[in-house]
């Protein structure tokens, strides 16, 4: 049995339920599950009722088909056979008679009412009681591929929630009046709103609720760092663990997709204005979707032969299946977005040329130029930038070499330099190519690892070693000029630097050697110069990223907007999407104003003619 299921069953046993007369327990083992059962009468017939673990719905067993609105005649304790219907107290919602049981949800006994009208969810608990019961439900884990098996394939690791687990997890949400989680989300998804829809089992409606503000829930549910965004603000997290918002998001998006319930939203009347988007990554896609729905004619230019940007070339298959990315892009195509592949903007068309044909341009090209450390030996064979390594594996599908023509970089002992998500992705990809030993070398300590906790945890499960407080100072090659070892220095943490993290300081004379035959350098990226070579008038900051007005994301060039990594430097998928959304709103406002002005002019001309 999965660890998962055990936890789920454990929860059911938290709710011990007793008869108010004989104080015998009403819990019963049914199909190896401990559930809350009692005898009931319906139109004179005996039946068995099961209380659901979320305390809001109860279901009859299969001998009787109850429908919403059906009223039960009687409810009795199976042990003492006494009726537990409470005569002097009607249901607080529908006025029907109710049954009373005693529950011990926490170290306290309290009455709990079950409305005899099927479908009514009143339970007589005060808000405080309800909250305390919800607090008892543990955070639900996602079932995932066995760690010994998954290092031999490239399939996705977590399977995602089942609907049962999703209901249980959604039941934990306190539905705060002032939800802090929404503040924590860069695009302010209505999180309590969609979770409430999950508890109502309207999974597809929940997915649409998210899509009102976040176009790519299936992607964000997988790759967003929720633990530092929405989940970090969840009130449950103060004493216990926060609601697994990301996992729920992923569940509803997958449900909608797999059940084929995706609906094309209504598109506004065409405005006749044209938008060009440079780069088909998350920022560009968000803007394209928004503008399409508002009635603009959108064309997305992509430099590579496949759409999706970092979602396609960067994030590995086992973390974000490419079929999902392509599904989302097909959705955009159905909205009316045009995609032009193999167009390196700056070369084949410049920004100025785009402005001749389009009313506005959005630049979302990301930060794709890999950084190197400038230590000796970096140009040795089998030393890769993480971009090259991941591009080969993901975009070019090198792991299927020789079916695909791009050769797969492989090594027995792999060292990945860096501690971010990209480093984790590279290391976990390497272990899937059959490497016997994969080591991550990072110059600070575990506490400072910039990667998501979940990724670090997965990496460790898969047997990846961490050499922390270590920095490479020289790459040593064989006589054939391929890598054979790295000379490293140990570090210790000194005073905090500008970013607030403690600065690593090398320990003199602590040099040591790590043997390896493949190195991936994952220490970050910078802005790509191609676009700027032909657009020198685009204002940039001292790191080379584009300067924008934070309110509108408009650049120093009018009608040219930018967002994502090319503005902020390496960041997250959702931040890029947030930037795309801001630009879309500003662009819409500006273009609408222009449209209205032109219409006024036309009217004026017309009236003058008359």
């Amino acid at each position: 049995m999965l660890d998962q299921e055990i936890k789920y069953l454990k929860f059911r046993s938290y709710l011990n339920t007793y008869c108010p007369h004989c104080h015998n327990t009403l819990n019963k083992e049914v199909r190896e599950e401990k559930s809350l059962n009692f005898d009931a009468k319906y139109k004179g017939k005996d039946t068995e009722l099961i209380l659901s673990p979320y305390l809001d719905v109860f279901e009859a067993n299969s001998t009787i088909a109850l429908e919403n609105g059906d009223l039960l005649d009687d409810l009795t304790c199976p042990k003492c056979k006494k009726s537990i219907v409470k005569k002097d107290m009607p249901c607080g919602e529908c006025g029907s008679p109710v049954g009373e049981v005693i529950i011990s949800a926490f170290s306290k006994l309290m009455p709990f009412y079950i409305c005899l009208k099927y479908g009514c969810e009143w339970h007589g608990l005060t808000k405080a009681d309800e909250k305390r019961i919800k607090l008892k439900i543990p955070r639900q884990m996602m079932p995932e591929q066995d760690q010994t098996l998954r290092v031999h394939n490239h399939q996705e690791v977590p399977y995602g929630y089942t609907s049962e687990l999703a209901l249980l997890e959604a039941g934990r949400c306190l539905q705060c009046k002032k939800p802090l989680c929404v503040e924590g989300c860069p695009v302010n998804v209505d999180i309590p709103g969609f979770i409430r829809l999950v508890t109502e089992q309207k999974f597809d409606v929940a997915a649409r609720k998210i899509k009102e503000t976040n176009l790519l829930p299936a992607v964000c549910g997988r790759v967003c760092p929720q633990e530092s965004q929405c989940e970090a603000k969840c009130i449950l997290g103060v004493k216990d663990t926060p609601v697994a918002i990301g996992r729920l998001e992923r569940f509803v998006a997958d449900f909608e997709r797999k059940m084929d319930l995706v609906k094309i939203p209504e598109i506004k009347e065409s405005t006749g204005q044209k938008i060009a988007v440079v780069g088909s990554g998350p920022g560009g896609l968000t803007l394209a979707a928004d503008m399409c729905q508002l009635g603009y004619d959108v064309t997305v230019y992509e430099a590579l032969h496949e759409t999706g940007g970092v979602l396609t070339y960067g994030i590995p298959e086992f973390r974000l299946p490419k079929s999902i990315v392509q599904f989302e892009i097909n959705f955009l195509k159905e909205l009316g977005t045009r995609f032009e592949l193999n167009h390196v903007i700056g070369n084949i068309l410049t920004i100025d040329e785009l402005l001749e044909h389009f009313d506005a341009v959005f630049i979302g090209v990301g930060a794709g130029l890999p950084s190197f450390m400038k230590v000796p030996g970096e140009s040795l064979g089998n030393v890769f930038s993480s971009n090259e390594y991941l591009t080969r594996m993901n975009l070019m599908k090198a792991y299927k070499f020789p079916e695909y023509d791009t050769p797969m970089p492989r090594g027995n002992r792999v060292v990945v330099v860096g501690g971010g998500n990209v480093a984790m992705d590279s290391a976990r990809t390497a272990i899937r190519t059959g490497s016997t030993e994969v080591t991550i070398v990072y110059r600070r300590s575990r506490h400072e690892l910039p990667a998501r906790q979940e990724e670090v945890h997965h990496a460790e499960e898969e047997g990846i070693k961490f050499k922390l407080l270590t920095t490479p100072i020289r790459y040593i090659g064989t006589e054939n000029n391929t890598i054979k070892a790295i000379e490293c220095l140990r570090m210790e943490l000194g005073e905090p630097d500008a970013s607030g993290r403690r600065r690593p300081v090398p320990i003199e004379g602590s040099n040591f050697i790590i043997d390896c035959d493949l190195v991936v350098i994952a220490i970050g990226t910078g802005p790509n110069p191609i676009l700027f070579q032909s657009t020198p008038d685009l204002k940039r900051n001292k790191w080379g990223y584009i300067e924008v007005d934070p309110e509108t994301n408009e650049t120093s060039k009018e009608f040219v907007y930018a967002g994502g990594d090319i503005v902020t430097g390496s960041a997250t998928v959702i931040q890029a999407m947030g930037a795309g959304r801001i630009a879309a709103n500003a662009m819409h406002k500006k273009l609408t104003a222009i449209r209205e002005q032109e219409q006024k002019k036309k009217k004026k001309v017309k009236s003058e003619k008359v």
Binding site: A303, L304, H305, Y313, L341, N342, H343, V344, N347, I348, L349, G368, L369, P370, F372, K374, E378, S379, G381, N382, F384, S385, N387, E388, T391, R392, L395, M396, K397, K400, F401, P402, E403, Y404, D405, T406, P407, N480, N481, T482, N528, P529, I530, Q533
Partner: protein, 274 residues
Amino acid sequence: MFQIVRKQEMAKGTIIRFDISAPKIALKVKSGQFVILRVNDTGERIPLTVADKDPFAGTITIIFQVVGKTTALLRSLNEGDSVKDVSGPLGRAAEIENIGTVVMVGGGTGVAILHHVAKAFKDAGNYVIGIIGAKDEAMLILEREMKGICDEIIVTTDDGSYGQMGFVTEPLKKYLEERYDIKLVYAIGPIIMMKNVVKLTRSFNVKTMVSLNPIMIDGTGMCGGCRVKVNNTTKFCCVDGPDFDGFEVDFDELMHRNSLYLQDEKDSLLASIR
């Protein structure tokens, strides 16, 4: 999809010339720039320098030597067939100025790229001296075209089967000794040839540009696979090049890096034959 409009086999079928319909690229491409080409859905991305263009017909010309699986696959295509992706133009264009006398040195398939650059130099009003070389007569390409462009031309073959016997460096040395007005040498060809040309021109202190052809994946500055050491700093050939000052290039490192995938290339070719 990009259609092959014209196919021509050269050098006993080991060097192929394609005219590919790519109107947008044909309008923009300048001499020295390259494209990335992918034959089919499972193909790899290979960089090929544009050897000529016809903006009116909307075609670009690529000339390649058959060395591995992808180029073998390309050769198997005929007029009317299409390749999946052509992305470009990429890289910086060659800096063309009217500076007086330039010597254009080309070897092997490098002549294909060279003739595009030579044309631009001629059009800019320079006196162009061409030196082109090949292994033997059969492997010599674009001789007629080069003759049409250059004011003076010398042809060498390694075995003496045509033109002068020997390497391109010999006539170059003669020119450098005899003429004092040579302002620039442009060398495009095998790395070893470029290395030797640079060795020679360095002793005469004549500025030399070389066009490099390292291993690339995306060709847009994203992977860093094409990094070369120029003036002791790491440069990306696809965005900073492909043309560099020959005096500053670390040719040995480039040679090592280019030989990294020879075994994989063989495996891939064999697997495709089976």
